[in-house]
């Protein structure tokens, strides 16, 4: 398939290679992140007027799911400020590697945790409390702070970015969906890597650090675990790293066979549907159950939530592929064919997010001027009234996203099925039924 190497443009290459532009973005992001924590803790408890809720769960989320993930894959990870303080400690520097490395434990991440199950769990932990998390500034502040401190702590115990790679609740699904993005970091010539001595891209050199994501760039075939941190561009002595523009969903042609990733697809798909029903649907009882954390109604909601994700959706999916002929064992067929749910899930999230983002985007304008709810009017927009935006495009855009997602998923299913020589028909039927449910929930 055709690729266009962006790093051939000198300006892009130099911008990525230099540490200063990245550091500047990191600092701005870190300031925003810490301000969000603070706003959550000391600002007004009214979520719709608190920076932490409005900028994290409306503005950031909108940019992440509608722009960053679909078009830049792990582009968010490239600028996320969470690893910055921990890495300063771990590396003993904020720019190039220092002459003397600080002495931290620098342990290898335990082998049995070298998968994204921890990320699946951390995402679900937040997901089950999401109604409260997404509306309560205090809780948002605490969760943001906890993630920052967890990242700092893990940086001193384990090597590289252990938090980003194995724990971050957001990183898990960004990685999964980044496979669909039209951008990738890859090597140019495999032969150069084979003969490269010392592999500084993985082990580090005076020019930069060994891959913080614990990935050997020479072996990259998909985006899932490449955090686009640009270290390897700086360390490669042979100028063999490229950032490419490529067709959408290029990574999905080679389906994964990992169960953690397959279940990640189900978790994301199921959560999008549950949220569409609970947060946007007309059923007050569901909403109450989701909101009243700790009550028996909430426990029932949590059990149903987990059942849909781990039993009902995978169960029907398995029933569908049970009868299909294939040389591979069921477990492998399951994991491979679940690849089709990646574009489907992404578009479910796009469709779901469109509705609450367009509905609530006007809060951003007011919160900009009075981020803590202290009565400020920094930019004269503090009294902007809440008003849903672009309401007339909402339903068509959602329909387009869902139908487009279904087609995309069907094509992916066909390719995955071809790859393992089986039929895609049941997977397409599964996607079709879920899309109908999602259309019904959202429209």
């Amino acid at each position: 398939m055709s690729r266009f190497e962006l790093t051939r443009i000198p300006f892009i290459k130099n911008t990525l290679k230099s540490r200063y532009p990245q550091l500047a973005v990191f600092i701005v992001m870190l300031v925003g992140y810490i301000f969000a924590i603070l706003a959550g803790l000391i600002g007004t408890p009214v979520g719709s007027h608190n920076f932490s809720i409005v900028f994290v769960w409306i503005a950031w989320w909108a940019i992440l799911i509608l722009v960053a993930v679909p078009f830049f894959g792990r582009g968010w990870c490239a600028v996320c400020p969470i690893p910055l303080p921990g890495e300063w400690l771990q590396r003993g520097a904020v720019l190039s590697p220092p002459d003397k490395k600080p002495k931290w434990l620098n342990l290898r991440w335990p082998k049995f945790l070298r998968n994204i199950w921890m990320q699946n769990i951390s995402f679900l932990l937040l997901a089950l409390f999401s109604s409260v998390l997404l509306t309560t500034p205090n809780i948002t502040g605490i969760v943001l702070a906890a993630m920052l401190f967890a990242a700092i702590g893990l940086s001193t115990i384990f090597e590289r970015r252990a938090f980003c790679r194995y724990l971050c609740p957001v990183g898990g699904f960004i990685g999964l969906y980044s496979q669909t993005a039209p951008i990738e970091l890859r090597i140019k010539d495999k032969q150069i890597c084979v003969t490269c001595e010392g592999k500084p891209c993985y082990n580090g050199s005076a020019n930069g650090y060994g891959c913080p994501w614990d990935v050997f760039p020479g072996g990259l075939t998909k985006n899932t675990y490449c955090g686009l941190c640009m270290e390897c561009i700086r360390t490669c002595p042979h100028d063999n790293i490229a950032i490419n523009l490529r067709p959408f969903s290029a990574d999905l042609a080679k389906p994964s066979t990992r169960m953690d990733e397959a279940f990640k697809a189900f978790i994301m798909l199921g959560s999008a549907m549950i949220y569409a029903g609970v947060l946007l649907g007309p059923w007050g009882a569901f909403k109450d159950a989701a909101y009243n954390v700790g009550t028996s109604a909430w426990f029932i909601y949590a059990v149903i939530f987990l059942a849909i994700i781990f039993v009902i959706l995978p169960g029907f999916f398995t029933l569908g592929i049970l009868k299909t002929k294939g040389s591979l064992p069921l477990k492998q067929r399951f994991a491979s064919l679940a690849t089709a749910l990646i574009p489907l899930g992404l578009m479910f999230w796009v469709a779901f997010s469109l509705s609450f983002v367009l509905t609530n985007a006007s809060y951003i304008i007011a919160a900009f001027s009075d981020p803590l709810g202290l009565g400020w009017n920094l930019f004269g927009t503090a009294n902007a009234v809440w008003q849903p935006m672009l309401t007339f495009v909402l339903a068509p855009a959602q329909t387009l996203a869902l139908v487009g997602g279904l087609i995309w998923s069907a094509r992916t299913a066909q390719k995955a099925a071809n790859e393992i020589r089986t039929s895609s028909i049941s997977v397409i039927a599964f996607s079709f039924i879920l899309t109908l449910v999602m259309l019904w929930l959202l429209l």
Partner: protein, 333 residues
Amino acid sequence: MKRSELISRILITVAIVSVVGAPLYFWSHTPLIHVHIAEDGGWSPDVIKANVNEPLNLKLTSDDVVHGFAVGQMDMQSVDVLPGKVADVTLNFDKPGIYTFFCTRWCGINHWRMRGTIEVSGSPADPSTSSGQRPEPASVPMYVTLGLDIDAPHDSPSIPFSQPSAINGQQLAVNLPIDRSTEYYLGNSPYQVFDELGSTSLTEIQRWNVVASIWQSNTTPESLANGQHLFAQNCAACHGENGAGNGVFADDLAAADESSMQTMAGSDNMTMQSPVDFTNPTRMLGASPALLQGKILRGGMGTGMPMWGSIFTEEQIWDLIAYLYSFQFDYHN
């Protein structure tokens, strides 16, 4: 260490310190009065100190729903306190004392509990310069001087078959030997006056019409309008806009039953009563203005009816009482 590294570290440190320090500074220098529904604590703080003739600037913010802020016995527009927004209020007190502020938006069934006080100290200014403030009730309330038991039943033994008409009563009253003093009107219930008119040759409905005319002669259209305004703002939440005791909270109060009557500390030595129906003639025609003044001033202790003595001026209470009787009497043609 290289210079670039050092500068970068300084930049990051300065950025972190200022993004933590600046908001904390401004936050600690903006004393907000947080407003919650009564169940979550009402006003916090609910006691505010002030000095005579020093402008008191208050910043109020609601942490949940829309509330309102007003100070009793003060000529001021109530201020809406919106969730997540800050309302600025500047108050001037020219007399020391304890002022009561209260919520003016029907925020929930415990709305009536949302009270706080402003303790104003200092020496009073020259009374002639006092502006915007009404004198506090100086006299002992009438129900005390008359020795009325405002909790005793006061049903009217007889009620008219149709609404008494003040216009019809006016002509009949012209030649009757009636005590026209204000004290007589204030101290007697409509039924008592009706009963005293029994010595005349008038029919029952004629006697009720005369009573209506006496009640009308003791009020003015302005007073009635003011009473109606106060009623709609403060009383209708429970007593209903049409006075029938069926305000928006009446059902909620009934549904919450005794529990809604508990004190916030959980002690439940209060009894559930549904809001009084002012359109009920048995109840209203047996109550004198003095009795009603007592009930409004003191509140229905333990029933959910708040005390209004610290909020309404004496004049406002009389206006309100005049309006309450208009649910019984026809003052128009």
